[in-house]
């Protein structure tokens, strides 16, 4: 009988220790402000890591054209432009996807913000 009681108490104690350690391992609940700060940080990283570094590297090789361009100038320019704009279209998509990710992360963060009414 006594042995059973001790075993039960020991079990509860173990459960308590585990539950408290679990609670303390949980990250603090986010706030609307902290979610926005993370969004801003994410956007700064996306913008800093360059929209299209590889396409920018092609810009210095842009052929010079007179105004209005001659047919020959236009043809040379179009060849360069085709390559550059194809690169840029891929960069457009990548940028859109990155910003999309930052916004989705914001939505997930906001969903974890505790409801003040529920807290009370």
């Amino acid at each position: 009988m006594l042995k059973n009681k001790i075993n039960n108490k020991f079990g509860i104690l173990i459960m308590l220790i585990f539950s408290t350690s679990f609670v303390s391992a949980q990250p603090p609940a986010p706030t609307a402000e902290s979610c926005y700060a993370k969004w801003l940080e994410g956007m700064t990283i996306v913008n800093s890591t360059s929209y299209s570094a590889e396409c920018d590297a092609m810009i210095p090789y842009m052929p010079e054209v007179s105004n209005p361009p001659t047919v020959e100038e236009f043809l040379v320019f179009t060849l360069w432009y085709e390559e550059w704009s194809n690169c840029d279209m891929v960069a457009e998509y990548r940028y859109q996807q990155d910003v999309d990710l930052v916004n989705t992360a914001y939505d997930e963060c906001i969903a974890r913000v505790p409801d003040p009414e529920e807290e009370n």
Partner: protein, 176 residues
């Protein structure tokens, strides 16, 4: 006589090595300078770049290009038509801007003319700034960070969400 020749050769080799080492140190210090001068907004060089209207031009053009990316990014492109157009360009079959725009729009690029103009303005602004400050071109990654941190035309939270909600190719697209 022979030993004199050897010592002269040795001296020449030593001088050449010293020159090469000095050259390496010089180039290292130059690239470090251009990075360090941008890493602090208070440096004289950073202040000069920030005050230049060419920087403002690039900042604005970069904003417009990014707005287009959010607005149109991820369009479905007809790859077969795109390959035919590339071949036609290589074979000099496209002779006017109007024709190019028409063909690009047929492939699936919406408002190509407008986007094309925005992109060209960006290229011109980029080229003008890099020509004036060749130091910036030495470390493009540092410059990208500098531009992002000092941009007066940041994409706001509301704008980014609104554009993504309107872009059918975004996961955040909201059907009206």
């Amino acid at each position: 006589m022979k030993s004199k020749k050897i010592s002269l050769r040795f001296k020449n080799q030593l001088l050449l090595k010293c020159f090469a080492i000095a050259l390496v140190f010089f180039s290292m210090s130059c690239s470090k300078d251009s990075y360090e001068s941008l890493s602090s907004n208070n440096s004289a060089f950073a202040k000069k770049v920030l005050a230049d209207p060419l920087f403002e031009n690039l900042d604005k053009a970069s904003y417009e290009v990014k707005i287009n990316a959010l607005k149109y990014g991820g369009e479905k492109i007809d790859q077969n038509l795109a390959a035919i157009l590339t071949e036609d360009i290589k074979n000099n079959k496209i002779t006017s801007q109007e024709e190019l725009v028409k063909r690009k729009e047929a492939i699936g690029y919406k408002d190509y003319d407008l986007r094309s103009k925005t992109r060209m303005e960006y290229a011109m602004a980029y080229l003008a700034l890099m020509k004036k400050y060749p130091e910036l071109a030495q470390n493009k990654a540092a410059f990208s960070e500098f531009l992002a941190k000092n941009s007066k035309h940041q994409i706001s939270f509301e704008t980014s969400r609104k554009l993504l909600a309107e872009n059918k190719n975004s996961r955040m697209y909201v059907e009206k």
